[in-house]
Amino acid sequence: MKQVIKGNFAVSHGVKLCRVKVISAYPITPQTTIVEELSEMCASGELDAKFIKVESEHSAMAGVIGSSTAGVRSFTATSSQGLLLMHEVLHWAAGARLPIVLANVNRAVGPGWNIWADQTDSLSQRDTGLIQVYCESNQEVLDSVIMAYKLAEKVSLPVMLTYDAFFLSHTSEIVDIPEIEQVDEFLPPYNPEFRIDINNPRSFGGMIGPDYYFEERYIMHKDALKALEYYQQVCKEFEEIFGREYDICEEYRTGDAEVIVVAAGTITSVSRIAVDKFREEGKKVGLMKLRMFRPVPVERWRKVLGNVAKVVVMDRNLTAGLGGVFASEIQAALYPIENKPMVYPVIAGLGGRDVTPDDIEGIINYALSNDKPTDVPLFWGLKE
């Protein structure tokens, strides 16, 4: 059924369709309406789940670690400072191999206080072991929730899906909400091998010394890498049932491209408009949309970007003293290639500053007219 809904409601509808059993969350702008809607669904019985009204984000994640260990499908959502407060237990959720799904609304980190779109929050959690998926539209947000549980439960790792504050969280778009029977067909009930079971008592969270820790982490790494392949299978199965196509990363007019723009989140949509404009002028410009960022789809990136002359990477995030996270990791992925493309790292739209199709056009023109980047990274639209 098609409805006009905000990105946050796309998340809560997705969670409902997945028959999640425990939700634990703490309010933070711009995530709040996700959990408001979910608590209404829980209170009215529309969703047969328990909603834990915790006292902080750290407790929210700790709570779903508990419920997931007890063996039920669990969900939480947060944003920015809230995600940072969860940091310790994000590592724990991944290390404990719990298939929790977390929706993070990408919002800038303080100080100064800023509630608008910026990816630094989720990217600063890239070493926690959570699988990360970036979304561009409200439809993709809803579908990604459903696919996230399928993937998480397959690889026993938590998944964080992220989308931009306000540009998606509070913007209404047409979303096709699947029938729950279809989702049941796609996502079977969660039945973990390891869970708290009074008939088969186990101890969780024990000490693990130097003899085993190393191998345990290696296994976790290997399983994380498996998520790349699994996710492609999950996307294929999803397409068969729901008719919408997704992948670990997406290409747009990249076939014969000489310049490829790389973007994640809503900057992708404006980049697409700019790419079309260049194509109309006969200029070979394409777009690679980042979806899965942990694990890193290194081989796919090399395949898409390996043969072009120039790659422009759009980062709505900043690691002070380095630059953009996406650019840095894409450069690392391309390093072993013999005829590497020239990479143009661009920082734009920090703290929710608008990035328009004109901006992307200007940035592409900058790449076209310079043999190599003039600034690494280039801060696009910086005020004097």
């Binding site: 703490y26 309010p27 933070i28 702008t29 709040t32 309406t33 959990v35 408001e36 608590s39 209404e40 209170a43 009215s44 909603f51 009204k53 006292e55 902080s56 400072q81 407060l85 303080g110 206080w113």
Partner: protein
């Protein structure tokens, strides 16, 4: 004859960052009254405002620090007290006032409150309790009354709220009181007393949030004031265990604790900075 338009002024202008006005608080909100009571008490208490700092956390009340024309800090959510503790220990001469809300001080930051009270850090905590997370749109908090409706408890809150004065007393606060924004004179006098009190002082201020809390509980701003008038009783030195917030049974206001014990800095110096040591360092 030239006429100049009279610039509107307010008796507290000198204590306000006028460039930040108008404030964000909604019509009927109680925070403004709590805030001005605090500013008046700061003036009348005679404390050195040049050595006074206001610290807030996140939320509607947390905006307080941003409006006061003194050294002030708008900290992260729940951490006003640890930020303030750092300031006080670094510079014990400062008068430190924490002005923040119930959600900030007692849910996400509750841990810090009990430990600062236990240590008896010499500071004044003013908690505006509006019974919900107002800034994010009215979710249930650790102070939401039993069965009250919020956006995250649409069928009513199944959990009991904190009795904040009891928590403060049990944690070791040296001064504890509770007033409503209707009791402005008592509130101002209480804040003044607390500012001059050595040790950890705590004042709970009950305040309406008509837009988010009141609306869902059929309580308009004026209704809240009527409730504050009709269903409260002033009972100084009341037993802290009898201070639950239940307006059906009546809510007790007053000053409940006023005791003396050594402050955090005093105990620290006594244990870790024996006199001979500190004199040696002075000589050096």
């Amino acid at each position: 004859m030239t006429q100049t338009k009279k610039t509107p002024s307010h008796p507290l202008d000198e204590l306000l960052r006028l460039d930040r006005i108008p404030h964000i608080w909604c019509p009927g909100c109680g925070i403004g009254t709590a805030f001005s009571s605090c500013l008046i008490a700061m003036k009348t208490s005679g404390i050195d405002l040049q050595k006074t700092v206001m610290v807030s956390g996140i939320g509607c009340s947390g905006r307080g620090a941003g409006y006061v024309n003194l050294d002030s800090y708008h900290t992260t959510h729940g951490r006003a007290i640890p930020f303030a503790t750092g300031m006080k220990l670094a510079n014990p001469e400062l008068n430190v006032i924490v002005f923040s809300g119930d959600g900030d001080l007692f849910a996400i930051g509750g841990n810090h409150f009990i430990h600062a009270a236990r240590r008896n850090v010499d500071m004044t905590i003013i908690c505006v309790n509006n019974f919900n997370y107002g800034m994010t749109g009215g979710q249930v908090a650790a102070t939401t009354p039993y069965q009250a409706k919020t956006t995250t408890t649409p069928m009513g809150n199944p959990e009991p709220p904190f009795n904040l004065p009891l928590l403060a007393y049990a944690s070791g606060a040296t001064y504890v009181s509770r007033w409503t924004i209707l009791h402005t004179r008592d509130l101002m006098e209480s804040i003044e007393e607390a500012l001059l009190k050595r040790g950890f002082s705590f004042i709970e201020v009950l305040a309406p949030c008509p837009v988010n809390y009141g609306r869902r509980n059929k309580e308009k701003a004026l209704d809240s004031l009527k409730i504050y008038q009709e269903r409260t009783i002033i009972k100084n030195n009341a037993d802290p265990t009898e201070l639950d917030i239940d307006f059906d049974r009546g809510v007790v206001l007053g000053k409940f604790v006023d005791q003396d014990r050594p402050t955090c800095t005093e105990m620290y110096d006594k244990t870790c900075r024996p006199t001979d040591l500190s004199e040696e360092s002075k000589a050096a």
